[in-house]
């Protein structure tokens, strides 16, 4: 257990500075920040989890499936007090708990380790099943994937199962930076919808739109939010 004492409350405006502790530069391109707004809105307004409740069986679970470029994730976890800001400058070094892909056994608040694409959503399905089997109806389970990550077939096993299984506590947010190979416009939401999910597509930089999509009701069905951000390569 790491003792984390917040000296002050961080806001969204602090995130570039926190990321800068890892990257050495407060200016970040779209690739590094593609997940930043989604993560902030989730942790700031949606997820019922805090440093104090991170072991509570009734907490909401957030599974970062797309473990690539986790600086935004670490910055948000630091801003919310899950891990000390002092850890950030060590990012990627031998003694640091913060790798270029997160490890759940090292990062307080990280529900899973990730890096190899296509693992988070199947684990999220099992998490939702496990909570349901134990009669825990309150906790919501969120998985964040990238649009290119959905090229991995394991996701489609999870998507195809979760809809008909009626896993209505399961949520996926797909950060879409148009980096998938052989993508078709509207293809992401269509594939989830075909499997019986509720699906919304929003501007991944618009906090109010994200919040509305994240909290939209979806009785009896899992829910996906496709958060569109700037294309990775323009």
């Amino acid at each position: 257990m790491t003792d984390v004492t917040l000296t002050h409350t961080y806001t969204y405006a602090d995130l570039p500075g926190l990321m800068g502790l890892m990257t050495g530069d407060e200016k970040h391109g779209p690739a590094a920040t593609s997940t930043l707004d989604v993560l902030w809105v989730l942790y700031d307004r949606v997820l019922r989890v805090s440093p104090e409740s991170r072991e509570d069986p009734e907490r909401d679970r957030f599974l970062l499936s797309k473990g690539h470029g986790p600086m935004a994730y670490y910055a948000v976890l630091a801003a919310k007090g899950f891990l000390p800001v002092e850890w950030l400058p060590g990012f990627g070094s031998y003694d640091s708990p913060l790798g270029h892909h997160p490890d759940r056994t090292l990062v307080p608040g990280a529900e899973i380790g990730s890096g190899s694409l296509g693992h988070g959503l199947p684990i999220a399905v099992g998490t939702a099943l496990g909570l349901r089997a134990q009669g825990r109806d309150e906790p919501r389970v969120w998985a964040l994937t990238g649009d290119a990550e959905l090229d991995e077939g394991s996701n489609h096993e999870a998507i195809a199962f979760a809809g008909p299984a009626g896993l209505d506590r399961l949520h996926t947010v797909v950060v879409d930076n148009a980096s998938a190979t052989y993508a078709r416009p509207g293809g992401i939401a269509a594939r989830f919808e075909a499997a019986g999910w509720s699906a919304l597509t929003v501007d991944g930089r618009d906090h109010d739109a994200l919040y509305a999509a994240f909290t939209a009701p979806h009785p009896g069905r899992p829910h996906v939010v496709v958060a569109q951000v700037e294309p990775k390569s323009i």
Partner: protein, 304 residues
């Protein structure tokens, strides 16, 4: 005689009744046996369909919520196809599960190579922290399944097979048993190989050990056996030949020793037929074993 797999669903159904942590995850194979349990425990019996990556990933998710998943399908689809999920979703996530396989190395020879997994244990050997049980009799399967489920949050593999010995041994989920004592060599029979090994070594002056829990490898027992029987060691395994040679070698690292690793060959036979024909083709029938073991141990092992 019933098979190990015949015992699987009844035993695990009872464990579902007894322990609220237990959950069963299936992928369209072996679902019939759990129909009753699924009615009694609908949330804790899950069939994900023909989706083996999800099979392991979902099991990991169940484990992360505190449950004890028991995961079942054919060995080739349980260990080989979703191997990265076994490595990452269980190993790297530090999540436990009990993987219970059927079909073994060639339980369904007519099904061909797609349904054969002689390399399953060797593959798990590339990972840390797995317990591997290889029962040789349905009664042992029952005992070892219970040990596996009761093993906290450990990662445990239970390898069920239609190959079996006539008699069950008092296995404890940990140690090798000494079945016969001699002075000119140690033969370790793994799981279903025991009957053939006993027949093959009839009249030879060798110690026969019986191993049903092969990981961790009971190196201490092997070492003790070599103190009276000498350090010529033969391993007879029902999966890929040589799978445990390194473990046996480690147990005897500081004494001169020889090890012969017998088991299923790497070469794909491209044959169908019956189990007995594949046993013989891989040189694992009693007659072939006697020849190979006798040849390795030499004249000293022949009893006067």
């Amino acid at each position: 005689m019933d098979t190990m797999r015949d015992r699987f669903a009844p035993v695990v159904s009872r464990l579902l009744d007894e322990d609220p942590r237990v959950a069963v995850v299936l992928a369209a194979i072996g679902t019939d046996g759990f129909a009753g349990a699924a009615r009694h425990h609908p949330g804790r019996v899950v069939d994900v369909g023909i989706r083996e990556q999800l099979l392991i990933g979902a099991a990991a998710g169940l484990a992360l919520t505190g449950l004890r998943p028991v995961v079942h399908t054919f060995a080739s689809f349980l260990v080989e196809r979703p191997f990265e999920q076994v490595k990452l979703d269980l190993g790297h996530q530090d999540a436990g599960a009990v993987l219970v396989s059927a079909a073994a190395s060639f339980d369904w020879p007519a099904g061909g190579y797609t349904h054969m997994a002689p390399g399953d244990v060797a593959l798990l050997d590339t990972l840390d922290g797995w317990t591997v049980h290889v029962p040789g009799h349905p009664d042992e399967a029952e005992t070892l399944l219970r040990h596996a489920v009761a093993a906290g949050d450990d990662k445990v593999y239970v390898r069920l097979s239609v190959q079996a010995n006539g008699q069950a041994q008092p296995v404890d989920g940990e140690h090798f048993l000494t079945v016969r004592e001699g002075r000119s060599g140690v033969v370790v029979a793994v799981g279903p190989m025991l009957d053939a090994v006993l027949a093959a070594t009839e009249g030879l002056d060798v110690t026969v050990m019986y191993a049903t829990t092969v990981r961790p490898f009971d190196g201490a027992a092997l070492r003790r056996a070599t103190e009276t029987a000498g350090t010529d060691v033969v391993l007879v395994e029902p999966y890929l030949a040589g799978t445990s040679t390194a473990a046996a070698n480690d147990a005897l690292a500081d004494v001169p020793h020889r090890i012969l690793g017998l088991g299923v060959g790497r070469r794909e036979l491209r044959r169908y037929g019956q189990v007995a024909e594949h046993v013989a083709a891989h040189g694992l029938d009693a007659r072939s074993l006697r020849e190979r073991i006798g040849g390795f141990l030499g004249a000293a092992a022949a009893r006067v």
